[in-house]
Every structure is written in C-alpha cells, then in structure tokens.
Subunit: 351 residues, 2 copies
C-alpha cells in the first residue's frame, strides 16, 4: 500500500489526528479512520467485536432507555463524528477483537504478529481509528457489540494474541481488565488490609483474588458492594475475610462498616472498581493515614478525590489506575489457567 | 458551652449537616452555622477575612458587574442559604483567617492551639460553617473580603498558625500551595531527573526549589513553561539545570524538548502544576518507563491521564496531588525563612 509522502507516521499515531491538529490520538476530537491505506508503522485489523468500557456502555444504555438498537445508533453516531468509539459523555472507550489484515513494512520484523492472527487490542477504543461497516448485534448484558469493520493499531499500540486454550469471550473479558490484577500485585504486601470497593464486579473480583494471593493468610481482604447477591458471591468464592453490603457513595456508612470490620485500623490499600460516581470520599475515608487509594474506576473525579482528601485532612496516596503493566495480558490469562474457581466464574458470568 | 445530648459530634463534621442528611459537609447543600454553642470537638473562630477561591470570586464579580457591594450581597445570600460560603455555581470555596475564640473540651489537649491564636484554615470554605455579622470591605483585586463573623473548624479540619515574622499576605500565599513542596520532598530522590511542568507559577516554583534540594548536585531539574519570561526567571533563580520554553499541551513538542535535555533518558519524576487543561499526555510522555507523574493541577482529567498512559503503553505511576501532608504548613513557612531568594520572590510576586 502506498502512502502520501507528506504524511509522516508517528509511533503514537499523531499522523491520524484531524482535529485539533498536533495533539495525540486519545485527546483528539476526531481521527482519520480511512483504512483504505495504512501507514508504514500501522497494523490493520478486520474487527469482529467491540468490548465497550462499562462506564461508556452504561451511559449509552441509559441514554437509549435500554434499547439495543438505540445503543447501536449511538455507537454509529459517535464513530461517524469522531472516527473512533470515544464516548463524548464519559470520555472512555473499550477494546476490540479481530484478525490482523495487514502489517505495515516498518513492523514486519515483529516476532509475535502475523497476518491472520486473532488478536485483542489492549489500547482504548478512545484512541483507535475505527470504521464500522455494519453492526450485527448489541449484547446489552455483556457490554459487547458484534460488527464488521476495520481498525488501525499504532506502532506503540498494545495487543494480545488470543490463546487457543481459553474461549474468546473469556479471554476478552479478562484482558479488558488485565491491568487490575497486575497493579494489585504491585500494591499489596503480605499482611495488608485491603478494601476492594465494587468487589462484586469483574475487575473487583480479580483485585480481590489477587489481593488474597498477595496479602496472604495474615492479611485481611474486604469486599464492598451495595448488592446482597454480590456479597453472597464474594463469600462463596472464599477470597474475602469480610463482604460488606454498603453503598460506597454513602461515605459515612462506608467508614462505619470498614471501621467495624478492621477494629478501627482501616485499610492499608483501598482499590476502587465501582463504575458509579461519588465514591471517592467513601474510598478515601476508609484508608488509614499513610495508606493508599487506587482508583481504577473511570467514574473517578480528579477534583472530588484531591479536594476530598484535603478536606478530610487525610495523608493518603491517591493513585490513578494505569491499565498498562508490562506482561499484564499474559498474567491475566494465566490466572484463568491456575485458578479453576476464577475460570468457572468467568465461564458463568463474563464469557 | 452545653451541647444537646442527642447530637453526636463527628470528626468530619457530619453533625453540622442539615441538608441532605447523612452526607459529609463538603457535598452537603446546607450546614448548621449556629455558633452560639460549639460541639466538644470543634474550634470556634472569630473571622477577620476570607480569601475567596479565584474561580468563585471571578464568578461573583461577573454576576455583580464588578460592583463590590454586589459581591458582598452575593456572599451574604450564599451564606444565608447554605450556612457556608460554598459558591453554588463554581462549587468552590476558599480559606479564612481569624483568631481562635473557643476550643471544644475534646480538643483541649492540642499543643499547637490556644484561644487568641491567629490562624488560617487550610480546609475549604465549601465545608466550613460560617456566620457573617458584617462585611467591612470587598477587595476586588485580591479575591479578599474583610468581615466580622464566626466560623467552625471540625476536629479533622486543618489550620496553620500565622507566624509573627512573615507578613500575613505572604504567609497566606504560600499556605495556599503548601502541599506542593511537601509532596515533592517525598517523591524526589538524590540523583533524580525531575521535570516540573508549569515551573513558572507559584506552586511550580516551590516544586522546583524543593526538587533542587532533594535531587542534589547529581540530579537534573528541568522547568517547563510556554512563556519566555517564566523561563528567564527560572534561570535567574538558579534552581534548574534547564528551563524549556514549551507549551505542555503540545505533547509531541514536550517529548522532543525533554528528550533532548536528558539525552533521551526522560524523567524519573514529572510534576504537573499547570492550571491549563490538556497537559496530561505531555507530562506522561516525558516520564521514563517505571517513573512517576504527579498531578497537582486542578485542571487534570482523570480519564485523559489513565487512558493516555494506557494508550501510550507507558508503565508509569500516576499520582493525584493530595494537598495535605502532615506538617506541610510549617514546612512551607520555613522555606521562606531558609531561602532569602524564595522570600524575595514571594514579596515581589505573590504577597
């Protein structure tokens, strides 16, 4: 495929930015999603499905009053407007799966990539040029959309080859949140008390599983969810010391519950995985002085977290969840091989 | 002073929340500002002046068409309605100065507080019960209001005693950003390469000063500003190895400039103090793999930072600036005593 000489290709994809010019693809309003020709350092993908970010999918479901066709229309409208599935309300994206259709000559030497490979992109849809030809199905309960179309992966773009021994849906479901267990593994030390806010969800469950491994028998792992059913499941899975049924947006109730569960010591590490707003204060309140709060949730407000901690006079480290850790995809997939209970859960709930 | 037995006093002040019940004072719509009696764990303050948050003051000035009496009326109306100066439009507050009028018996043991002490509150006016008796003057150019009235500081509420050897205006100016040098002191190790984005501003200058102290002679401190005058001043102050004139919202230009200044090694620690949006990516791009990026700027977007790092495939720690570190106020004031050049700068520019 021949490229216009004038358009220099950038490892981060700035050559695809239309508006405003000179910025990176993620903050850009609009990308060039023309896939009739790729640049030397791009990978072209025949897209099969999108796994939409939970915050974005929830927003679209609500805007469409729970109607699948309405969600499909919103997706098409966003991609038509922005050249990427970058939700203008939530600012978030998701990931995609497909097969490698073409590899630019500058990347021909990559040992782990060949045309025809079945891959999932691990960079957000909010920065991925996407062209949709047809939406086949919107799976309202899975945040998933089956479609035909093409997408572009930049030179810096992360991806994972989908393994043969794990069903696609299950692999995707865990790759979508692959950063969560990998970051938890870094944060939690033996003996730590760990609170996972939103412990009933997918990333929350992985954080709880990982926290249990890392905190060990002397540690204390506490899952929080407003739903009785989530708490029941957390107890059945057996990785938590306590499952607390509390609405995390009720900061005062959070403090009371975690305080009671830890004899007032509170948590060394708080991990927030709730895809609902207004849970920053509740998360900060239950961290001990000198502890840390890790915000994975895309519903996190920077000002609510920073002004909240200051207003409470709490000396806690406030970390923003970085979805990328080297080796995170392989690590997440390995969990499904080593933990039959986790694999079963993913089979039943997320695949 | 006697308290009604039924009203239990909370360290975070929930006992003062009228509407809606059960939330913390900052998100509350209305607080009880009755200061005729204080609770056991409260501090009563005779207020002398308010330093209104810049966003709030600007909004009120515009709504009052630049009229001081009009601003005074808006302030009285907000406090009458909410029991606190919590601007309903901007959501922001400010801070106050005054003298300690009474200390609840539960706090009587505090070694650093006595009735009559001249203090500044370091928690936002958006969560501070305030009663105004009379507004004496509205200083339109200083975001400042002189008044008579009383305010309540909760048990968790932060404050600083105003020193005798530093003029009030100068003390307030540095207390406003006291978290910046204290957090920098924690982050920077000897020999580190540190980039301070927005190095020409007030908090940026303090971060550069602190980074120089901590990184030491083997370290490399780089200040970034889009303005020639800022870069000139950074060089004159003598705490930077390089002052780079770059617009941090231009991520691509940032990478080129810092790469050149560090022979491609990039920064161990990046500190973002820019009160302008869209500088997240530029800050993340110039951190080395395994480094960290500290966001002090209130213009930071959570999703831009987290999705940005993931999109770039960068394994960096993303920290949100917590304005509170134990001892930060005393530490910030001490800098004005130990660094004559810093004091002179504050005299000329910020006091």
């Amino acid at each position: 495929m021949s490229m216009p000489q004038a358009r220099a290709a950038c490892p981060y994809g700035t050559h695809r930015v239309i508006e405003p010019p000179g910025v990176l693809p993620q903050p850009a309003w609009r990308l060039d999603n023309d896939t009739s020709a790729i640049f030397d350092n791009e990978v072209l993908i025949d897209v099969q499905a999108l796994n939409v970010d939970a915050a974005s999918f929830t927003q679209m479901k609500e805007a469409a009053h729970g109607d699948a066709d309405g969600v499909a229309e919103l997706i098409l409208a966003t991609v038509a407007q922005r050249g990427k599935l970058h939700n203008p309300v939530t600012g978030s994206g998701g990931m995609l799966i497909g097969r490698v259709a073409a590899i630019g000559p500058a990347l021909a030497g990559r040992p782990d990539l060949a045309v025809g490979d079945h891959i999932a992109t691990l960079v957000s849809l909010s920065l991925t040029p996407l062209r949709i030809d047809r939406i086949h199905a919107v799976h309202l309960d899975q945040d998933r959309v089956d479609l035909s179309g093409q997408a572009v992966l930049f030179e810096s773009g992360l991806y994972a080859r989908l393994p043969d021994d794990i069903p696609e849906g299950m692999a995707l479901a865990i790759l979508d949140v692959a950063g969560a267990p990998a970051q938890t593994a870094r944060l939690v030390k033996p003996g730590d008390t760990v609170v996972v806010v939103g412990g009933g969800g997918k990333s929350g469950t992985l954080c709880i599983h990982e926290a249990r491994l890392r905190a060990g028998p002397d540690g204390c792992v506490i899952g929080v969810s407003p739903f009785e059913q989530d708490c029941q499941r957390m107890r059945e899975l057996g990785w938590v010391n306590h499952a607390l049924q509390v609405d995390a947006s009720d900061a005062v109730a959070m403090l009371a519950a975690v305080s009671a569960g830890t004899q007032g010591r509170l948590a060394d590490v708080v991990i927030n995985c709730v895809n609902q707003p207004h849970t920053e204060m509740g998360s900060i309140l239950v961290a001990r002085p000198g502890g840390c709060v890790y915000f994975f949730s895309m519903a996190t407000s920077f000002t609510a977290a920073t002004l909240g901690a200051e207003g409470l006079g709490k000396d806690v480290a406030l970390l923003m969840g970085n979805g990328y850790v080297p080796g995170h995809a392989e690590y997440a997939l390995s969990l499904l091989r080593t933990s039959p209970r986790l694999r079963q859960l993913f089979e039943v709930r997320y695949a």
